[in-house]
């Protein structure tokens, strides 16, 4: 074996120039942090901050023991919340499916007109939080469950539509080609070439969104859109901390159960 002597012995991951730039970059980040910290703390009243642990302990103390007797009264609002989430998800999914087919590059009938419109619907729906949708809808159609359901549905269109159109664009072209070659019509190509391929994604996305909507619908009551949030609002307003504790624990339990259901369903599909 001969020793190869003309190869360099030293290897470095970055050139000196890159190392210098990296160092300057980190310096800039630290400087930015220090500057932001100063702005942030300018108007802070430090007496309140130092007081925080005592306040937290005080509220925590008032929360204990939770007033379990309040629980039966919460069952109806909880049922409302679950209904808002479920009906809202169903409504959102129904509206999202056509939007997704219009937005997917390989199924849209018109790339220049309909696709941008569908993409705009998706962005518009995603950019507005359900709580804000609910605020608007309570103003428009009055307080109650319906406002909550529509708020959840409108917010879900964007989420479901975006994930679904990405799934449609990722379908296997060869399967679609094979169905086309049999002489199938456009509708048949959709139902045999594309729909079977996106079914797992469709159910996965829908159940995932339902799980998110359970969480989101718990706070819609804060703005009057029905459900358990109404009770939370009322208890907070009357400083009934032991009731707040019961509500929070109930929400936690519901969310855990919905996550479990959603995980099981997705596992069963995929």
């Amino acid at each position: 074996m001969t020793e190869i002597s003309h190869y360099a012995q030293v290897w470095s991951h970055r050139t000196p120039r890159k190392r210098l730039l990296m160092w300057l970059g980190w310096l800039a980040l630290v400087a930015l942090f220090v500057w932001c910290w100063q702005i942030m703390t300018e108007t802070t009243i430090w007496m309140f901050v130092t007081d925080a642990p005592r306040q937290a302990a005080d509220i925590g103390g008032r929360m204990l023991p939770p007033r379990w007797g309040y629980l039966p009264e919460l069952m109806n609002p909880l049922w409302d919340t679950i209904n808002i989430a479920t009906l809202g998800t169903i409504g959102g999914v129904i509206m999202a499916v056509p939007v997704a087919f219009l937005a997917a590059r390989n199924t849209t009938p018109s790339v220049t007109i309909l696709r941008p419109i569908a993409l705009f619907i998706i962005v518009a729906s995603r950019s507005i939080n359900s709580l804000i949708w609910a605020l608007l809808l309570v103003a428009v159609i009055g307080p109650g469950l319906l406002a909550g359901i529509i708020a959840i549905a409108l917010r879900s269109i964007g989420f479901v539509g975006k994930l679904l159109y990405e799934a449609i664009e990722e379908t296997d072209k060869r399967q679609i080609e094979a169905i086309t070659a049999t002489g199938a019509s456009q509708a048949q190509i959709l139902s045999y070439g594309i729909v079977p391929q996106i079914m797992p994604a469709f159910w996965g996305i829908s159940v995932f969104r339902w799980d998110i909507n359970i969480r989101e619908s718990t706070i819609l009551g804060l703005v009057g859109a029905g459900g358990i949030g109404l009770k939370l609002n009322a208890s907070l307003a009357t400083l009934a901390w032991n009731q707040v504790a019961v509500i929070l624990l109930l929400i936690l339990g519901t969310v855990i159960i919905s996550e479990w259901v959603s995980a099981r369903v997705r596992h069963a599909i995929i």
Partner: protein
């Protein structure tokens, strides 16, 4: 039966995939289409049923020029052309039966296909075809539960469900092992003989083409450079199609490989279980 007249295809990128290809395929003839990658074999096959739109030329299926047809007429004519694909192109999440029945899509209205309410004679025929390709007991399995060879058999059954007058076969054995490849080729040739079906078969494997095809068409850079029975496929003809290469040495290589495989098999058989 099928006549291509001066068929040309230039892609939007400016690549000429087919240049002035003319050929006749009479009823019952098996044509093997060989040529290097990028010679236009796949484009030629797809121009016939217009999965790829030809730039110019005519595709005469019987008396109909497929190139001139509007969308609805094209769909009706596509029913006459069965297609078999390289990687089977089955709808993986549907059952074997649904895949075979999808060959009837051009014949049934949308609601029937949507509700899977196919006419009884279509269903009976689908079962017959599954029996013919040896998959009757797998009818209700999902397509992705089958092996490669089995999936290609489903692909064949799907194409036959169309009751086609012509088969287009795109690299049917490219993803199969040598033994399964031969079984699939044998099945294809038998089926074509039974029904007097003409077929155009894209095929990478020259020995396989020589063994099973009645006519070999060699494509190079979009032009037909060879068109004769397989026994005329000499080394010089192969050089015209594929470019210079030591064909004799390659065949020796094939023999060596075959010997090695046989040897390995023998030793496997001798191994104590």
């Amino acid at each position: 039966m099928l006549r291509l007249i001066a068929l040309s295809k230039t892609y939007a990128t400016g690549d000429t995939a087919l240049a002035d290809v003319s050929m006749d395929v009479p009823k019952g003839q098996l044509v093997g289409l060989i040529g290097p990658s990028g010679a236009g074999k796949s484009t030629l096959i797809r121009c016939i049923n217009r999965l790829v739109e030809p730039t110019s030329g005519q595709v005469m299926l019987g008396d109909t020029d497929l190139v001139r047809l509007g969308a609805a007429d094209l769909r009706r004519q596509r029913r006459r052309i069965g297609m078999i694909f390289q990687e089977y192109a089955l709808v993986e999440r549907l059952t074997v039966m649904e895949n075979v029945l999808s060959g009837r899509l051009g014949y049934v209205p949308f609601w029937r296909s949507w509700l899977r309410r196919y006419p009884p004679q279509d269903i009976r025929r689908a079962y017959e075809l599954l029996d013919r390709v040896g998959l009757l007991q797998h009818a209700d399995k999902r397509a992705d539960a089958l092996s490669g060879g089995q999936r290609q058999r489903v692909g064949i059954a799907r194409a036959l469900a169309q009751e086609p007058e012509l088969l287009l076969v795109d690299e049917p054995t490219a993803s199969l092992d040598p033994k399964t490849s031969r079984q699939i080729m044998r099945l294809l040739t038998e089926i074509c003989a039974e029904r007097d079906l003409p077929a155009i078969v894209n095929i990478h494997d020259v020995p396989l083409a020589q063994q099973f095809m009645q006519r070999i068409v060699g494509l190079r850079a979009g032009c037909v450079v060879f068109d004769d029975p397989p026994d005329q496929l000499s080394e010089s003809a192969l050089t015209t199609i594929y470019g210079a290469e030591d064909w004799h040495a390659m065949r020796q290589g094939d023999e060596e490989q075959a010997e090695a495989q046989a040897d390995a098999k023998r030793r496997l058989a001798e191994m104590p279980v």
